[in-house]
């Protein structure tokens, strides 16, 4: 606003003599005279001091302005001019105001170029944190604008001069500090090294280390940087006033201030040079080199010809040559911005125009406000104070920015939907995440979209697969997998927010693997680690690289990442569950097939010799069980061999073992081996050291005369229900090891003889170990009672037993397969 005020004042049509005053003096010393103006024609020269104007003695520019306002264009006005030791009375014809020279216009153009580039960068990063390069760059650009427009302004008599020139002086004091500040944080913070690292660790020299710590880490360092020039300025003038000595001012500031400001500029360039030398990545190097060259070529001629010459030698003949190259500074910044694609350039022009319009509207409002204020305070004490214009200007400055911000928000919302791109993008990502059930596609969606939204160089996702986190396809160069036991992963899982990689530095000392991983991530330029957690458990880890702008992640960035990460975690979990469910469905299908296969392998009818009746059932606990029964090829004429097996493991593995065991038994039986040999062969075939698999088996040989011989390999002894209703347990053989339990083994056979009507019941342990909802086992006693109570043929026996067990178990999940084979000797031959 001050800059606009200055420019407006320069070109307003009103009577003007053509005198340009020394900007840094409170009196009316002539700095130059506009060529062809009334003052030029009248012979007023640089160095003259105007003492009177239009019959009034004037001592200050404000008094001169008031005196001049009483006259119009074309009027001849008497000037009292001090030249050397004498006073001259000169008559000057007033002309229209022509103060704005092409040089000044050029300076204004350069200033606004700075400002708009700074503004654009700032608006492109509305979430940038205070002190970030974006903010400092904007401050630097604004100070350049104020300096060029206010400081290089040809001063006349108007009150605007005081406001503008004071602003110009303040900007001059702050500009070198902002310059140094910017180059200390651009493209990233420059670290001062005064003490070698090893000396730091060993305690090191105190003062130097303290200075180093202060420069590199203290938040007050930059505050001090900005405070030093005004403090030095005020102190020099204050001491001069206290000692009653006149401090020599060079272009309005003590020499000490100029020396300090020069130091700042040189240090700023050195900081930029240091960044250039330290930059490893080619793109970054080119970016810094561009800015460095532009800054050196732009600033150096200006410092020499535009500042030193006029100030020290009172020679402003080369001012234009000094000012022209200055435009290189914003241009190189602009080039770096566009060339290295830091920002989307397409809206810059539109934005600039609209913000200018907004500023104009606000300025107009304030102009009306000023008029109202003047009217209000016209007769008040304050209004009569010479400080009133200054206070008013300060008040306007104080109020301008809040109002502008207030207006800017609706303007942004209305005109610049881009401002809300991020928010909208998050919403879109949410929708996409909800729709997506492919873990692989989610991986790509999360990393790609996040990179687009935040303008990241890269992003990748590590997804937990068992005991490791496996990297996605992006970010080649990062470790392929991260062990789930890494300390750093536990640390990331502990935080709800994204964790800057720097925060994990202390963990390097705890864990060698973590150290290696962190170094690998750091070397690749990783900035943030984001845990994707569900119910506190880390399901995935997102690693984010630097932003294209090289800015730090802002608060809003972190919030956005957190939102996306939370949604991503849920989406990943959903995808995982979905995949598991799909797999389960698939498995169930496969189980169904397996069950059919299994059942197809279990004979529907068991062949038995004459005089025997048989009924059998095999009820797997799961869809596919490990129990089975089968009839082996006949060993002798008139006999039959039945096996009832129970393999270790349930479901598909158990079923597979069952198939294998059945096959082994069938194969061995076909070879004509005796039951003992069959058992031994089967044992050998089924034996494996790892994994340990074994099969419980009851090998029953039915004789032609009601005799039954049986061997038990881990199976319970059969029950015999006598025709009288008595139930007894068959004699148990001595050797009863399950098949496959040991490499070798021998099984002996027990023999019982059944009377007509007796029933032999062979069963698997799943029958007695069936549990009800209370966890009680069905048990031997209950089985004995049931068997005692049953009647009818073998099928009836089997049905009643299964029914009783079913009643006992109730709604409880079947624990084990249940197989029951009932054999009844009728005595017929």
């Amino acid at each position: 606003m001050v800059a606009c005020l200055s420019i407006l004042d320069m070109f307003l049509a009103r009577a003007y003599d053509g005198v340009v005053l020394e900007p840094d003096r409170s009196d009316l010393t002539v700095r130059s005279v506009v060529s062809g103006s009334g003052a030029d024609d009248a012979g007023i020269r640089p160095g003259d001091r105007i003492s009177g104007l239009g019959q009034e003695i004037v001592r200050t520019p404000a008094e001169a302005a008031r005196a001049l306002q009483k006259h119009g264009v074309g009027e001849r006005v008497a000037y009292l001019v001090e030249r050397g030791d004498g006073l001259l009375e000169i008559e000057v014809e007033l002309g229209p105001r022509r103060l704005g020279t092409p040089l000044y216009l050029y300076a204004c153009f350069s200033g606004f170029l700075f400002f708009f580039i700074g503004l654009y960068v700032l608006l492109s990063r509305p979430d940038a944190q205070s002190g970030s390069p974006t903010h400092v760059f904007f401050i630097l650009c604004t100070l350049f604008l104020l300096f060029l427009v206010c400081r290089l302004r040809p001063a006349s008599y108007s009150w605007v001069d005081q406001v503008v020139l004071t602003t110009g002086m303040l900007s001059l004091l702050a500009l070198p500090a902002a310059f140094l500040h910017f180059f200390m944080v651009f493209p990233r913070r420059v670290r001062l090294t005064l003490v070698p690292a090893e000396e730091h660790e060993s305690g090191g020299p105190g003062a130097l280390a303290a200075v180093e710590r202060f420069v590199n880490g203290s938040p007050y360092f930059f505050t001090l940087l900005y405070l030093l020039p005004p403090v030095l300025y005020a102190a020099t003038l204050g001491i001069g006033a206290a000692l009653d000595t006149r401090v020599r001012l060079v272009s309005g500031a003590p020499l000490a201030s100029w020396v300090l400001m020069g130091d700042y500029l040189v240090l700023g360039l050195l900081a930029l040079l240091a960044s250039l030398l330290r930059a490893r990545e080619g793109r970054e190097r080119r970016q810094i080199a561009t800015v460095f060259v532009g800054t050196v070529l732009g600033v150096t001629p200006f410092l020499v010809l535009g500042v030193a010459f006029p100030s020290l030698f009172r020679n402003d003949r080369y001012l234009l040559i000094g000012v022209i190259p200055l435009v290189l500074v914003p241009l190189t910044f602009a080039y770096a911005i566009v060339r290295f694609q830091f920002f989307d350039i397409r809206v810059i022009v539109r934005r600039s125009l609209l913000y200018t319009l907004t500023t104009a509207v606000v300025s107009g409002t304030y102009a009306i406000g000023i008029a109202a204020f003047n009217l209000l305070f016209r007769d008040a004490s304050l209004g009569k104070s010479p400080l009133f214009p200054l206070l008013l200007a300060l008040a306007i400055l104080a109020l301008f920015d809040p109002l502008r911000r207030r207006l800017q928000e609706p303007v942004d919302r209305f005109f610049f939907r881009e401002e809300y791109d991020a928010r909208r993008a998050v919403e879109e990502v949410s929708e996409e995440l909800v729709r997506e059930f492919s873990v692989e596609r989610l991986d790509g969606l999360l990393t790609t979209r996040l990179s687009e939204i935040l303008h990241l160089e890269w992003a990748t996702l590590y997804r937990r697969e068992g005991k490791a986190f496996i990297r996605g396809a992006s970010a080649i160069g990062l470790p392929q997998l991260l062990p789930a036991t890494l300390v750093m992963l536990a640390e990331v899982a502990r935080h709800e927010r994204p964790v800057p990689i720097g925060d994990l530095e202390p963990l390097k000392a705890l864990d060698r693997d973590t150290r290696a991983v962190l170094e690998a991530l750091s070397a690749h330029g990783s900035r943030l680690l984001v845990g994707l957690r569900v119910r506190g458990e880390l399901h995935a880890l997102m690693v984010l690289g630097p932003k294209l702008s090289d800015e730090e992640y802002g608060k809003a960035d972190l919030q956005l990442i957190k939102t996306v990460a939370n949604q991503g975690a849920v989406a990943l979990e959903n995808a995982r569950l979905y995949r598991e469910r799909a797999r389960q469905v698939e498995l169930e299908k496969e189980l169904e097939i397996a069950r059919r296969v299994q059942f197809s392998l279990i004979p529907a009818q068991l062949p038995v010799p004459v005089g025997w009746q048989v009924a059998a059932i095999c009820a797997p606990a799961r869809r596919v069980g490990g129990d089975f029964y089968d009839a082996l090829p006949a060993l002798d004429h008139g006999t039959a061999a039945i096996v009832v097996g129970d393999v270790s493991g349930k479901s598909v593995p158990g079923a597979m073992l069952m198939v294998a065991a059945r096959e082994v038994l069938q194969t061995a039986a076909l070879g004509g081996a005796s039951p003992s040999q069959i058992m031994q062969v089967a044992n050998q075939r089924l034996y494996t050291p790892q994994p340990r698999l074994f099969v419980s088996l009851a090998f029953v040989v039915l004789g032609r005369d009601g005799t039954v011989e049986y061997a038990l390999a881990g199976q319970p002894a059969p029950l015999i229900r006598r025709g009288t209703g008595r139930v007894e347990e068959g004699p148990a053989p001595v050797h009863r090891l399950p098949l496959g339990a040991l490499r070798g083994g021998a099984w002996d056979f027990s023999s019982v003889r059944l009377e007509p009507g007796d029933v032999l019941i062979v069963y698997s342990d799943g029958l007695t170990e069936a549990q009800n909802e209370q966890g009680e086992f069905f048990g031997d006693e209950r089985l004995m009672s049931v068997v005692q109570a049953v009647n009818g043929g073998p099928q009836s026996v089997v049905d009643q037993i299964v029914e009783e067990v079913g009643d006992f178990v109730g709604e409880a999940e079947p624990y084990d397969d249940v197989t029951v084979v009932a054999l009844r000797w009728s005595g017929e031959t």
């Binding site: 003492s51 009177g52 019959q55 009034e56 003695i57 004037v58 001592r59 008094e63 008497a78 009292l80 001090e82 030791d85 004498g86 006073l87 009375e89 209000l376 305070f377 007769d379 008040a380 004490s381 304050l382 009569k384």
Partner: protein
């Protein structure tokens, strides 16, 4: 909205309203009138008074009183302007009327003005001075009071205090012509001709339609030997105000110094005409001019003849000096001593303190001239030095020229005493002020030993 936010907004609003109320409160009234027209005319009158435009000031003050006849400040301003314009009776009448005002209806500043006017009328100078000193403490921003105090000090011969208070007045009112004029004369009297010129030029700048500042500048240039510029300023004064007769008198004296008798007599004629002098008085002035020209030309016979014509003229200083110089030319030292004694007697009669240093200096000058003529150079040195010291450069009353005459006598006595080194030094100081002063060339030759 949270309660905290509401409290903060309410607090901020309260602060804002209080600050606005404080800032917008009306300034204490300085003047009692409610009439804007009266106040505006009064302020214009004050500005005119500052620039010594007394007639305009009278008009403005009367306008102010027409709008508000009880406006005491305007009436006192009118009284001052009338007094400055030489209308003493009318001034006194207005002042007395102002003093009758009801003090309760006046502002503190106006009450103080009334008090001062009453003291000026009834009290002594010391009481007025004391009240003025008190007033400038109480009303430090009022240039009228500071100027009055400065003028009081100037009138009492305290140049240092006068300068300080005039400068203070100019800080408060940079267009106060009266202050520039008086400062110009004070600086001229002290020999700081550059400062005097600057002040008088500023006065001339702010009052371009006044003859007085140009006339004053002419006097300054007369003393300093810038005679062409002096003539131009006198003529400018007469251009601005053709009836400004003092310029003609000053022009006549300048022509005397040039030795240009016809021009001096012509200027004297114009002076007499404009000043309305009678033929007898005018003839005395013509004779004085001719006599001075004769003295400058060292034409003793002509001097004696002209002084003879002044035998019956009143005892002006000019006439006394010319008689004295004629007596010396005729080597009638006793007559010269008689004149000196006559002058001394008149000094005693009038009271030397009241007359200031000029009369004492004049006696020393006459004594020095006699001693040089009688050959008592050693004693003449002391008298001439004393006369030089006692006179100032102030052109008002012709002291500046007399001071330079005393210095020339001093040089002459030193040369005659053989103290050439001292003579050169004093001559240099004379040349520094006015290198064209009559007799300087002879003195230059004298110090060279020719």
């Amino acid at each position: 909205m949270k309660a905290r936010s509401l409290i903060m907004i309410a607090g901020a609003a309260a602060v804002l309203v209080s600050a606005t109320w404080w800032a917008a409160r009306p300034a204490p009234r300085e003047w009692s009138t409610d009439s804007e027209e009266a106040l505006s005319a009064f302020l214009a009158g004050r500005e005119a008074t500052q620039k010594l435009y007394f007639l305009e000031a009278i008009e403005h003050m009367r306008t102010a009183l027409k709008h508000d006849e009880d406006f005491v400040a305007a009436r006192l301003g009118l009284a001052d302007a009338l007094a400055s314009a030489g209308q003493g009776d009318a001034a006194r009448a207005e002042r007395d009327r102002a003093l009758e005002a009801d003090a309760s209806s006046l502002t503190p500043r106006e009450r103080r003005g009334v008090e001062l006017a009453r003291l000026r009328r009834d009290g002594g100078q010391r009481e007025v001075l004391a009240l003025l000193e008190k007033s400038v403490q109480e009303f430090p921003g009022d240039p009228t009071l500071t100027r009055s105090l400065a003028s009081m000090y100037y009138g009492r011969g305290d140049a240092e205090a006068a300068v300080a208070w005039f400068e203070k007045t100019l800080e408060l009112a940079p267009n106060d012509g009266l202050s520039y004029n008086t400062l110009g004369y004070i600086e001229m009297g002290r020999g700081d001709f550059a400062a005097a010129e600057a002040n008088l030029k500023r006065y001339a700048f702010i009052a371009p339609d006044q003859a007085n500042p140009h006339d004053s500048l002419g006097e300054l240039y007369t003393i300093t030997g810038r005679w062409n510029e002096a003539i131009a300023e006198f003529r400018r004064a007469l251009e601005v105000n053709p009836r400004f007769f003092p310029a003609w008198e000053h022009l006549a004296r300048l022509h005397v110094l040039e030795g240009n008798e016809p021009a001096a007599l012509e200027a004297t004629e114009r002076f007499c005409g404009l000043a309305g002098l009678g033929e007898a008085e005018c003839e005395v002035r013509r004779a004085v001019m001719r006599a001075w020209v004769a003295w400058i030309r060292k034409d003793d016979a002509a001097l004696t003849a002209e002084v003879e014509a002044l035998r019956t003229a009143p005892g002006y200083n000019d006439v006394l000096m010319l008689r004295h110089f004629a007596a010396l030319g005729a080597r009638e030292f006793e007559s010269a001593v008689e004149i000196e004694e006559k002058l001394e007697a008149s000094l005693k009669k009038a009271g030397a303190e009241e007359k200031g240093p000029a009369q004492g200096a004049l006696k020393e000058l006459l004594v020095a001239a006699r001693l040089v003529s009688s050959g008592d150079f050693a004693t003449a040195v002391n008298s001439a030095a004393a006369a030089d010291r006692l006179f100032n450069y102030n052109a008002d009353g012709g002291q500046g020229v007399l001071k330079l005459i005393a210095r020339a006598l001093h040089v002459e006595a030193l040369i005659a005493s053989g103290r050439l080194s001292e003579a050169r030094s004093v001559l240099a100081s004379l040349e520094a002020v006015n290198p064209r002063f009559p007799g300087v060339n002879e003195l230059r030759a004298g110090v060279r030993g020719r």
